[in-house]
Amino acid sequence: MGPLALTPVSAYLDHAATTPMRPEAIDAMLPFLDVRFANPSGAHRMARDARRAIDDARDVVAEIVGARPGEVVFTSGGTESDNLAVFGAGRAGAPGLTASHGTVVCSAVEHHAVLDPVIALGGRTVGVDAAGRLDLDHLAAVLEAEATRAAAGESAGVRLVSIMAANNEVGTVQPLAEAAEIVRHLAPAAVLHTDAVQAFCWTDVAELTSVADLVSLSAHKFGGPKGVGVLVVRDGVALSPRQIGGGQERGHRSGTQNVPGIVAAGVAARLSADGRSSEVERTTKLRDRLLDGLVASVPGLVETGAVAGPGGPDRSGRVAGTAHVCIEGVESEALLFLLERSEVYASAASSCSSGAMETSHVLEAMAVPAELRGGSLRLSLGWSTTDTEIDHALAVVPPAVERLRAGGL
């Protein structure tokens, strides 16, 4: 068998990893790379011009996310926002990594940018069901257990609970309002953080995250540039900064702001939010056609953690842009390579810094059987996805799977 032929059409189906920048956002940022280059921290008029530009972006993000402008902190991205939240929440004062300041709790399906800090702090995780949805009873049990430990003087109590708004691998939307209720009752002193990075494009993020004290966002997931993120820090929430120095961002995050990036992020956020309802409708149709088509044409392919509905799968608990499947008898790495040869770009689980695929902690937490986990495939859609790309993916995936099965692994 020779290598698959390259085709002129491509299908980029990895929008959950990153999505193309909106052209308007690119245009908006260019002057700030060029003539409007001043440092917003300065006192003179050129500095104030740059300051105004980032504050305008701040206003836009604040309105979309349901916060006051002063509550919007710009960071270098979702990972920095998550780290800032987990390490710093509930403590005031100088930065420092200490587990003694209180326990941190998160869901078992968080992105590594939340999970790894929680584990580094000796924190606890809360399980999910087979659909990837937070197990609220387990959350209550964990918080009760921690309250007992605190009462016995064994710990300082729960400092932070972090539950993502939508999962980056399978797209499950989490029951934040219910979780917040439980936290309010069982760990009233705890700060509630939500990583809303994957939810921004697809949900009314102001409504969804209104219960949270801290909210993380990432610009390159909604058509902005890489290198810009947001942490919403509600007034009155104690947050020890990771980065101190010049005192920018109200002392929450020192460092000269990425003016061009922030300006672009504001433009992208506006476009994303304004077009959201129609985008969700459009994307849902494309995603459903893709998923239904794959289920019909590839034997041994299942929608990961699917929830049965009266007339077919109930995908209402997932964001519109994610189609995650598990395929028997194939290895994700091999499948992705064949797909790439036919210009279908997708992913499975996460990659480590070497570029190798790691096993998915999300699929494990959902109790997906090992044989299926090995054949996971995430196809994620975005604002630039077209019908033609879906057609192409539907044409490429089934023969690729067949080829892998025929060749043995």
């Binding site: 790495e333 480590c352 070497s354 570029g355 692994l409």
Partner: protein, 355 residues
Amino acid sequence: MSGGVDSSVAAAMLDEKGHEVVGVTLKLWGGDSDSGCCSVSDVDDARRVADQLGVEHLVFNFGDDFTTHVVGPYVADHAAGLTPNPCIECNRHLKFDRLLRRADVLGFDAVATGHHARIERVGPAGEPRIVRGVDGHKDQSYVIHMLTGPQLERVLLPIGGLTKDEVRARAVELGMRTADKPDSQDVCFISHTGGGRSTFLGARIPLRPGRLVDAAGAEVGTVEAVELVTVGQRRGLGLGGDGEPRYAVSVDVPSATVVVGAADELLVGAESLAGVVWADDAARGTALAGVGITAQASAHGSPIEVAGVVVGGGPADDQSHLVVHWAAPQRRVAPGQSVVLYEGDTVLGGGTVTR
């Protein structure tokens, strides 16, 4: 592509010849050692060499199989008093098995590596065989001896015809960043900076003190960890000083006893091998005919003259057992190590030494 100079040059040579080359680095171990071979920085080196050559670079995560077939047995063998060669098991199960199958299913024609060895059609009917690399000091035919005909048809070893100096010179010519990178010496999953083998094993199996006894059974010393003693070892037994050198002659982990003796007590006339693999049937026939056969009993050992090779020594009817008779008495080979049989410079096959 391990990130080392050998595989870098091998990739360059194939690319120059006009083959469609894709560089692959195997992610095998992410454990305590990220400083051995194929660490994150090694993957970076491999990727940048590939970038320089203009070839695609992929990373395959075979960590699960590596744990099952290489690290797990390495630990278990030590607990049983054997001396495994994990590189041989990695070649046997990962590089020339799983990777070869992955290459097949993706539509590739061959897997190439930077091993110092050659594949030539020198079998009696033109069958492909492994032949020692031209650089005697660097020859690695020993660690890839297990490849059989069907595998040999799909493996390429581009640098076997070059000396190490020539390989490095090619790398320098090509402006490769790995040109003066030192060869990796140790087991790839054990950090040489983190306490080495004893720390690695000590974290996984109990390491128990052992008694050193002479042939008569009299105790002559002790060792801290009987599981770390290798047959043939002289240093580290605490038996230095006056008198003639003494060596570990046999190791019995259950009784935590090491029998030590003088050099002549290590000599044996034959070795028993299990799990023997042959390049092909003709190679097996040649070995059993016993004419002009030599053996190599360690990664850098010199060829040993063989008097004869006889099937047997294992369970009845088990054809994968052999007894190799030395032409002259030889020091015992540590059980767990491989003995590879050659006709001249050509590999015929090999197996693992049993007790």
